[in-house]
């Protein structure tokens, strides 16, 4: 035994930053030519990119096929040196399972780490996000010596929990979440162990997808292994080991230089969630970013306490992972995505907070907690970076998920469970110089796609009644957020099917605007059981809703048992012909809407991207609604009047706060919040600081 305690390893998850440089790595540095090093970096990145693409092409699950993939090359100590992904949280979390394997299995005689082995893992305590994110790693040996690891982390959309589709609104403890596998050997001598595969298949609702995804990861890793061995053969093992380390070192140094260029100060953003899974309730994630010199400290004091018996918690490492979605994508967008970036970042998590889960607490909805936090870092980041480079100061992309989760028997009589891919079609946040891009993707999955509907319909028992841009899905502003996508699903050819939804923001918007831009409106699910829509479609006589606005229009001919549901919706039975409508949101707005160029509003009106209501009431544009002729003087008058109305209605800050502070949410909304308004008032101020 090598220190295994048959429990989660709290020491190894603290090792998010690169391990100390080894003697061999240090010795290699003097012999690495800078030009050869640049060629090496490029070659390694191409190997990782090929691995990512191969994984996607071979995979079966929705997320794997459409790009929720991270593929990387790790040092032999487990640090992620080279990574190809748009799922940037994996760029700093992917190394934890490898560090676990190095710590526990290399010298463990009953396991070992040998040429031809492969390891599987999905416990989010090590991966950091949720157990639907599953990974596979292989060690690479050259002439008997361990050189590196290669691994693929991918979202496989079913993990065997209390609900299908990888997230469980009903989870009360981790034991409701399904598979929670710490790094385990699933293959040796270049063969997968069929008994282990059989066990994993038996514990999930969609065994075919589970096994195909595992084999896709392994196949891609083996191709990358061949490429890496070619590089080692050409450059030599000393260069290879030293080169991987130099990538990490240079990344950390560059990150610190970038941070040093930002204004020193304290940047704050409280964030609020409106669901705990099965019920509504407010919780708070309180982000304070302290920027000093070449370091950023992220502090979470006065965040709501751990939510006992509900899945709305996250491990601290998952929060750090999602911080790197912002760091890799925006602040350090031109640096390699690897855990060397954390050389510029420090963190403080209260011991008993919902962002620092411990024990048996469920973290099944951790992705929602983490994206809620990420909204905060977009806002604090924008305030921190505008002065340095205004193009970095962007409003946030949609963060409420609104992902349909499903499981059951499909139209071919096969068991399936997964999610649909529209989360990869949210709108960008607005930027200082342009509107957000419509249906651009997911901010945490920037290299992903939402599939075409026919591909989803081919093996899921759905008929899309429509899927297109929704003009009430983004935040207004001087620059508006990009549109999100509304869609309708009709279940067909099965009466053994369950549908639910994972997300937040039905009461409190998840996605805020920036510098006076407005938030993304709430999202919710509309269901219609015993719908007449299939009959109407067969008749072909009646105009049917072709977008989300039409679903809520008074003349919608669809009748049945209609219900508006929270976007955090526990799965429920759906039969042939039942329908389900939801929208993934757009981006937050940027700047005061009264400063929006009238020509931009008119352009949006012409292509349906903005409603006449918003043109008149938000943007204060005067125009002929029939001919679209613009009235410049009328617009000027409307906007002057709107500004005068603001000043007439507003109060001096002190007077406003005097009245405002008398308000509070109802007690029922605060039962998971902690003390109002500062959740930790009266609690012991225990702060866990990362070791210096």
């Amino acid at each position: 035994m090598t220190g295994i305690a048959y429990a989660r390893d709290h020491e190894v998850v603290q090792r998010l930053r690169p391990e100390p440089m080894t003697e061999a790595e240090a010795a290699a540095q003097a012999h690495i030519d800078p030009v050869e090093f640049d060629i090496f970096k490029h070659k390694m990145h191409m190997i990782a990119l090929e691995g990512k693409e191969t994984t996607m092409k071979l995979g079966a699950s929705t997320a794997m096929r459409w790009g929720d993939v991270a593929f990387g090359v790790f040092t032999r100590q487990g640090d992620l040196s080279v990574c190809a992904t748009g799922i940037y949280h994996h760029a700093v979390l992917g190394q934890l399972p490898l560090k676990y394997a190095v710590k526990h299995w290399v010298d463990e005689p009953s396991v070992g780490v040998r040429d031809g082995d492969s390891f599987f893992y999905n416990d989010p305590f090590y991966g950091g996000v949720h157990n639907a994110d599953m990974g596979l790693a292989v060690p690479v040996f050259y002439k008997g010596e361990l050189m590196c690891f290669i691994a693929a982390a991918v979202h496989t959309g079913e993990a065997g929990g209390t609900e299908p589709g990888g997230t469980c609104n009903t989870a009360k403890t981790k034991y409701d979440e399904g598979l929670l596998v710490p790094p385990i050997k699933i293959g040796e001598n270049y063969q997968l162990r069929e008994d282990i595969l059989n066990m994993l298949a038996a514990m999930t609702r969609d065994p075919r997808t589970m096994i195909l995804d595992i084999k896709a990861r392994l196949a891609a890793a083996r191709i990358a292994q061949r490429r890496v061995l070619e590089v080692i053969e050409e450059k030599g093992p000393e260069f290879f080991i030293g080169g991987l380390r130099r990538i990490l070192t240079q990344t950390g140094e560059a990150a610190k230089r970038r941070v040093a260029e930002l204004n020193d100060g304290i940047y704050r953003q409280p964030r609020f969630l409106d669901t705990v899974g099965t019920e509504s309730g407010l919780t708070k994630i309180n982000l304070t970013m302290i920027k000093q010199g070449d370091r950023i400290i992220m502090d979470f004091e006065n965040t709501s306490p751990l939510v006992e018996g509900r899945p709305i918690n996250s491990f601290f490492q998952g929060i750090l992972g999602l911080s790197c979605v912002y760091y890799c994508g925006w602040l350090f967008h031109d640096l390699p995505a690897n855990n060397g970036l954390l050389e510029a970042i420090d963190w403080r998590f209260p011991d008993d907070a919902m962002v620092n889960a411990k024990g048996d607490a469920s973290t099944s909805l951790a992705p929602l907690v983490q994206t809620c936090f990420t909204q905060g870092i977009f806002l604090t980041g924008a305030r921190m970076t505008y002065s340095y480079d205004s193009s970095r100061a962007v409003a946030a992309w949609f963060s409420g998920f609104a992902i349909p989760t499903f499981g059951g028997i499909n139209q071919f009589g096969e068991g399936i469970a997964d999610i649909t891919p529209e989360i990869n079609a949210t709108g960008c946040g607005a930027r200082p110089d342009m509107d957000g891009v419509e249906a651009a993707g997911a901010f945490f999955a920037t290299m992903s796609d939402c599939s075409d509907v026919e591909a989803t319909e081919s093996d899921r028992p759905f008929l899309y009644t429509f899927r297109n841009l929704f003009n009430n899905s983004y935040g207004h502003g001087k620059q508006r957020g990009g549109c999100g996508v509304g869609f309708g699903l009709m279940v067909h050819d099965t009466n053994r099917f369950m549908l639910g939804s994972m997300g937040g923001g039905s009461r409190f918007p998840t996605t805020l605007g920036l510098f006076g831009g407005y938030a993304v409106p709430p999202v919710f699910v509309q269901t219609v059981h015993d719908s007449n829509l299939k009959t109407l479609m067969a008749d072909g006589e009646t105009p049917l809703p072709h977008d989300l606005s039409g679903v809520f229009a008074p003349n919608n001919p669809e009748i049945g048992s209609k219900q508006a549901m929270d976007v955090s919706m526990v799965v429920q039975p759906f039969n042939d012909g039942d329908t389900y409508y939801v929208g993934v949101g757009g981006g937050g707005g940027y700047g005061d809407p009264l400063e929006r160029e009238p020509a931009s509003v008119l352009g949006d009106l012409r292509n349906g991207r903005v409603s006449h209501w918003a043109a008149a009431n938000i943007y204060k544009i005067a125009y002929d609604t029939e001919t679209m002729r613009f009235d410049a003087e009328g617009t000027d008058a409307l906007r002057k009047a709107a500004r005068a109305e603001r000043l007439a209605r507003a109060k001096p800050y002190g007077d406003f706060v005097k009245d405002w502070s008398k308000l509070s949410p109802p007690e029922d909304a605060l039962r998971y919040y902690g003390s109002w308004p500062n959740p930790r008032d009266g609690m012991q101020p225990i702060v866990q600081l990362r070791a210096a």
């Binding site: 020193d264 100060g265 409190f508 938030a519 005061d592 500004r643 949410p665």
Partner: protein, 112 residues
């Protein structure tokens, strides 16, 4: 150039160490404090920004006012909306930017 641009709508005047509206130059108070204290403030009814679209039911496209309110901060000089906040009713207003003014002045070579 005595002013430094901090956000879309906020400058800091280094000699006087004050927040200024970028659009009209209005003095929003000491740069060591919260610029919002120099603003005029109003709660904006949610349905005026996020119309419901749905006639009835528990959910619409308007946030739930028992959970969320919209507070807007305007420049007293030009009425530009410098920022807004979506907050639970009564939640303290956020002091979102607290800059190290001495460090800012050093960065820009201004006299301390």
């Amino acid at each position: 150039m005595s002013k430094v641009r901090i956000t879309e709508y906020l400058d800091i005047d280094l000699p006087t160490e004050t927040w200024r509206c970028n659009r009209c130059g209005h003095d929003l108070g000491t740069a060591h404090g919260n610029y919002k204290e120099g603003c005029v403030v109003a709660e904006q009814p949610l349905e005026k920004v996020h119309p419901p679209l749905v006639a009835e039911g528990n959910y619409s496209f308007t946030p739930d006012s028992t959970y969320c309110r919209l507070v807007e901060f305007y420049c007293p000089g030009c009425a530009t909306m410098l920022e807004n906040e979506y907050l639970p009713p009564g939640h303290p207003i956020t002091h979102e930017i607290e800059l190290d003014i001495a460090a800012l002045k050093r960065r820009h070579g201004a006299a301390a």
